[in-house]
Structures are given as C-alpha cells and as structure tokens.
C-alpha cells in the first residue's frame, strides 16, 4: 500500500517505470474484464491499450493515490461501454460469431462457464464484470451505468442465478 502511493507519486511525474509497476498489479483484471465484457480478444486488447495511454496521460489528476485501481477501471469501463454501443450500431450478431470466450483446446467446466457468461446480456456482463474484476459495489456500478443500485443488485443476482442454474443443470446431466 505504502509502496503504491510512492509509485503513484512517481508516475505522476511521468515515470513510465513507476506507471508500469502500478499497471502490473491490475492489468490481468483489466484484460479479463474487457474480454468478458466485449467477448473479443482483439477488441479487449485494444481497449486496455487505449486505457493505459489515457491513464498515463491523466494520472496527474489522481488525487488519492490508493484509488489507482478504481480510477483506471473507471476509464476502462467507459471504453467498454462505448465499444458495446458501437457493436449495437454495427449490429454484430453474436449468435453467429463464435463466442471467443469459450475458445479453448479442451472442454472444461471453466470453459463452459465462460461460454455461458458470454451468453448473458451486455449489461449483465458489465455489471458482473465490474463487480468481480473491478471490485466495485452495486452502488458504485449504479452510478457508472446510470441505474438504481437496487436494479444493479437485482440484475446481478439474476445473472448469477442464471449461471448457477445452468451450471447445475450441466452437472446433473453429467452425473447422469
């Protein structure tokens, strides 16, 4: 924690190494969040890349050093929202497109869960993703998506229940 604050201070002076060290703590979750929201490896890589550049440019505005993670996630989630909006304008039929989330050499439970996750709605993926990878609370997510905190909770809980039920169904099926 202490060390983090020092790094933010350094990063604010424009030190790429310090920034990279901060980035190192979050980049896996940034990418995971982007990928599960967008379901496209390539787009996920793009938005995380853009986020890094934006964040590096704007880090001087970060007052509270400990908040780096929340701050960079917010930048990323905005980009993902934009991207999702772009998709709807372009009309990408995800039924047709291969769900890249479930692309894998071997078929495991995790792969199956990711496939099911990819079948959730855009908003559901954002909400769950922001919670799981961004660590945001429903009230904070509500603020970001302009929804009521209650609605966020309801939707998240519905999405999770949906996943749990399908996973269970699959398990029951497997066990005969």
């Amino acid at each position: 924690m202490e060390q983090n604050i020092e790094l933010v201070k350094l990063a604010k002076t424009g030190d790429p190494h310090a920034f990279a060290q901060l980035y190192e703590c979050v980049y896996k979750d940034l990418y995971r969040f982007a990928f599960i929201s967008l379901r496209s490896r390539e787009d996920a890589e793009d938005v995380v890349g853009e986020t890094v550049l934006d964040a590096f440019t704007a880090i001087g505005g970060l007052r509270r050093e400990e908040a780096f993670r929340a701050w960079i996630f917010r930048i990323l989630s905005n980009k993902c929202k934009d991207k999702l909006k772009e998709y709807t304008q372009k009309y990408v039929d995800w039924e047709e497109v291969e769900n890249e989330l479930s692309y894998s050499e071997e078929w495991t439970e995790s792969v199956y869960l990711r496939k099911l996750f990819g079948e959730l709605g855009d908003e559901e993926r954002l909400i769950v993703g922001l919670h799981v990878f961004g660590g945001y609370t429903s009230r904070e997510i509500a603020g970001m998506l302009h929804m009521k905190a209650n609605t966020v909770r309801t939707r998240e809980s519905r999405a999770l229940k949906k996943l749990a039920a399908r996973m269970r169904a699959a398990e029951v099926e497997r066990n005969g």
Partner: protein, 741 residues
Amino acid sequence: MDRKMEKKIIQEIRKSAEELEIPEGLLPENVEARLETLPRKNEGEETGAARPRLTQKGKQSPRHRRIRKMFPALYGISAAALLLVCCYTLFQNGLMAKSGSYDGQDAQNMAMEMDGEAAQTVRGEVDSTGAPQSATQPPEASRTTTGPDEAPRSPETQAVKNDSQQARRFREAKRDAGDLYKVASNYEEVYNLLKQYEIVYETEDGRSVSVYPTEPADNSAFGVDGAFVEKEEIAAGSYSATNTQVAGVDESDIIKTDGVCLYTVKDNKVYITDIRGGELSPLAVLDPTRGEQMGDVQEIYVEEDRLIVIASVYESHLVEYDREETMALREKPMAQVVNDAATVLYTYDTSEKTAPRLLGTIRQDGEYRDSRKIGDMVYLFSWENGLGARLETTKEEDLEWLPTVNGTYISADHIYLSEKGYNALLVSSLDIKHPGRVLDEIMILCDDEIYLTAQSLYLYNGAYMGDAGWVTQIARFALEDGVLNAVGAAMVEGTIKDTFAINEYGESFRVLTTCQRMDDGTVDNTLTLFDLELQKKGTLTGIAPGETIYSARFFENMAYFVTYRNVDPLFAVDLSEESQPKILGELELTGYSEYLHLWGEDKLLGIGFETDPQSGKRLGIKMSMFDLSDPAGLKVLDSVVLKNRYFSPALYQYKTVLASPEEGLIGFAVGDEARSYLVYGWEEDGFRLLLEREWDGDSCSLDQIRGLYVGDMFYIASPNQVVSFDRKGDYREIDALEIGE
C-alpha cells in the same frame, strides 16, 4: 438471500477468467516500453502540479458527441422517475382497495396511524430546478445532550411520532477500537477524511472539477449471510423460532410464528395468518411502507404482542451537474436520478391480531444490512455505500453529507474513522418498549461483517496486507443496555471461512482462520484465543495442512470443525486451557459437512455432501449425527444420504434449517429439478423420515421455504403459501392456504 451461492459462482467466474491468456502486447514490460517512447511531459514539474487533461489526444470530438447524444436519454430518465412516482401511488391505492380476504380494515387503520408520518414522508416531488426535495425535517446540526430524561411511560403518548433523540441517557464518551477505528473529534475531521477520496480534474478552460469515484470495495465484504445458528431462546409453549447463530440472539427472517399466528413477508407487505390447530385463516395485512416513495419490506421479528418490520425505503432525487463540468468529465452525465436509501424499523402492537397498531418507527440512512434482537433490545445495521459521493452535491458547512439517524445527523463523537475507505456501517439500538426512540448510534467507516452476542458486537473483515497475505481485523464493542462502546481491536492471520468460526463464550473469544502462505501457496488453519479485551491468549497453528475449513461450531470450551480433502475430518479441540488449546479427536469419514448444529449436550448434526472417496465426486446430500460424548473417540451414530439430491439451501443459509433437539425434529428443503421439503425425526440414535412433501408450482426460491412447528402441528410455509400437518397423525395434511389470495 443466497449471497453465499452468489459468492461461489462469482469465485468460479473469477477462476475461469484466470485461465484467459493475456496478450503479449499488454504485458507490463511491453507497455512500459511503449510508454517510454511517448514524449515525457511534466518533466521537472512538481508532483502535485502535474495535471494533464483528460480530454487530450484528439479524442475530444467523439467524446463531446457522445455526451450530447446522451441528453435525450437523460431527460427520459427523469421523466421516467416522475412517472414512477405517479404509478407507484396508483399502484398502492389499487392494492389497498383489494386486499382480498386479508382484512382490509386494518389497512384503513394503518393509513390513519401512518398519517402523521405520511404527511412528512411523501417525497419524491422532483422540482423543475432539479433540487432534491426532502421532506425530512431539517436535522439538528448539533445534538443537545440533556440530562437523563425520563421516557414517557405510556406507549400511547409516543405512538407514531418518533421520539426525539435528545433524551439521551448515556453520555459516556466513545472509545477508540485500538488503532483500527478512531473516534472522530469533530465533523471537520470526518469531512477531511472523506475529502481525501476526491479526484480533481482540470477542464480545458482551467476550472477544477471534483468527483468521488469508487474505492474498490473489499471483495470479502459481501459474505455477510453466513453467520449463525442455534435454536432460539423463549420456546415458550413450544413453537419453533428462526434458526440463529447465537442462542438467545434472535435474527430477522421472512417468515415467523408466535405460536398463534404466522407472519409472512410477501410483495412488500406482512400477512398475518391464524394457524391455531392447523386451521389456516387470514387475519390481516400490513403495508408499512405505504406513504414512502419506494419501499421494500425486508424481514420481521415477532414476539408476544409485538411485530417488528424492517424495510428499506428509497427516495429519488434528480441531481443536475454543471454543464461545463459534465463536458470535462466524460463519465458523468448532466443529470442523474439518485436514490437515497434508508432503513426503517416499524414496531407494531399485535395484541389485537386483526388490527395491529403502529407504535413507533426508527429511520436511519443506508440500506438494510442486518439486525439482531436480544429480549427487547434491537440492534439495527445499515450501510452507506460511498459516503464520499455525498460530498459532490453538498457543502461541508451544510452538514448534508452526514448520514442521519431518526432525522438527526450522527454526531462527530459517535463516528469511528478508519483507513478502510468511505463505506459506512451505521448501527443504532432501540428498546421495543419505547419503539420510536434510538438509544444509541454509531457510524464506523468500514464494510465489516457482524457477529453479535448478548454482551458484544464484533466487526470483522479480511484485509490484504501485500507480502504478509490475508489477515482478519476484528474490533469488539461492548453492549450495555443498548449502548455501544469500543473495547479493542485485534488482528489474526488468515481469513474466516465460515460464519460459525467466530465465537464468544464467557470471558473468552476465539476464531478459526484459514491461512494461505503467500510464498508457496500452501494452506493451513489456525485457532486463536483472546480475552474480551482482545488480548491474545493462545493459538493452535498448522491445523489440517492443505485443507480449508468447511464448517465449524463452538460449544462451551470445545471447538468442532470440518475440513475437507476427499474425506471429511471432524476435529474436536479442547479450549479449556486458554494458552494451550489441544486437538482431542479427529474423525474421518467420506463426504463433508457444510453446516453443523449442536444437538443437545453431546451430539452434533452435520448437513453436507456424500462424496466418492476416490474421485471426490458428489453423490448426494448427506446428513450425519456425531456422538461427542467422548471427544477423543468421536463416532458417527447414523447418517442418511439423499442420492441424486445435490442442492439444499441448508448448505449455505442457516435460517432455512429447522433443527430442534427438544422436539427431535430436523427440516430443510431440497431441490434440483423437483423441489421438496423434508422432515426427519431423530429417535433413539437413528434418523427417521417423517415427511417428504413436494413443493412445486410455487414461484418462490428454495431458500424462502421454512418449516415450523407449534405444539402438535407442523407447517411448511413460503411467501406464497402455507400448508399444515398433524404431527400426531402421521403428518396428515390438514389445511392449505395461498397467502394474500
């Protein structure tokens, strides 16, 4: 309700995402190399002065377009909010008009009772300037602490109207909880602490804009559910009570009985049904949040002549932001409908079951988190998620950023500061004999979980300490006649996996934690003993290496817990020598228990799964009874495996379990495709199935089904229906009723 299940699936999502391969271009070293090539700005500038603009890199125009496009949508939102208010009023009127066979008269009654309150609480007019209008009385800025004020003795005089909190009997200053939570010395200190979370951006034209985003909430914060178990106290006239964590400490639930009536929370109302003799007849329906803009009845308590209803209520405000600021700050819309949540506790006199009378209400800011009731004393917990966001729209001197309890700003000397972010837990206490009055209240800046005994409130939470790994921070507050005051704080290695792994007995406090070493990833478990000042007395480390705790139960000076790795070792640990806890016995059997319940003096009931010892594959739900009479020689007396049954809410929500050693009854719901409720008897060292009742065609979730008994009758109830059975006549079905129909 089933947060634990949600938590589980969240963990699985996380796990499955961890397998995703990260593209090379995003690896930190490659990113760093790319950043190196950027022109280095701010060179030589001072740290604080470096304020590059967010709207750089030629991204301006699309950004602005996007914001402009948002306007129609935003007006849409505000219009929708207004519409919602109107609809809601209509909806309520409509509902009250046809409250069916549940006596509508009471609703009238209610409306009258509520008038005084309703006049104050009709909110939600969003005026055209967008300024939020709150009809709450402008809270007193400073608390006048008067001398010991005799409470009005007759409940009539204080019915409906909230007592003023000025009648404050307790003036002992709040103490710090070690270094963990420190009492604030004034509002300025609180404000400045929250202010730290501010992020300031500079706009193109050089103005500063501040926001308070999002401190990531501690991921472990949402585990509340767990906790507790044990049959409750006052089983007078022998009827079942909610299964709780601590004997004698009641917990709120959606369905309860007082031995005469069944009280059911459904669709934001409370239905009262006469259930005597197994004959079911509707008596009354209460609509406590009528008059609120938006209400959500959560849970209830019942006892002789008293019904306590806890609801979350929401008020919508339209908050508009400065246009320029909005442009500069892309994530912030021009205006936003903000919902302020409050928790309201209503106390009713139910001496006349058909016409309950509202005696008083307590209202505090924040969403309902939890509550506990010990005799007449109720502790109400709510939480404010993101207090800092309030700073965006209010001024420090207006104090409107402060949460209120019963219309009064919480005073600075009742606020505990911490370094844990700006989520706040509000705790208030009341005596239901004087139901409009708050006895004491505190606010702690934390997201902690709650463990409450008759004499203590423990707040605990996991914290990540970098190389040192995960620790659990614990603070203890002493409870005395409803007054809360901190005693101390402590830290233990590892995290608490099961809500029953934390326990106070007499003068000692103990926790079981699972520790993962950061260096090699190995796992083991630790038992730590404290005194009530939270001074460490003894530890037992290195328990069950490679395994984590699945369930736990303390009984007096013994700890029992289950760890798991294909087989289920049940441990018995003697705690009587505080400085030297020792493992007395260890019993291995197949499967594992997710829930443990003490059965009489010397037995332990476990509910969990049977597994294949080779593959670890689950074979079905398993129930076992352990004999504890010789801790060194633990034995299984009997067990039952429900083949092909893989799911029961008993595995994660103790409130759904009925376990009564006095009556020899065990009940819980199971369901995968087909749902049913099972009732077992424990007789002469063996389980016996008494009733298996299918429960299909009910839209409720499995964890909303409860089993209850009153004398010779047994009831299975959900929010939608109740069915009665004769315990003395082979559980013959007697009557059935759809609630609210």
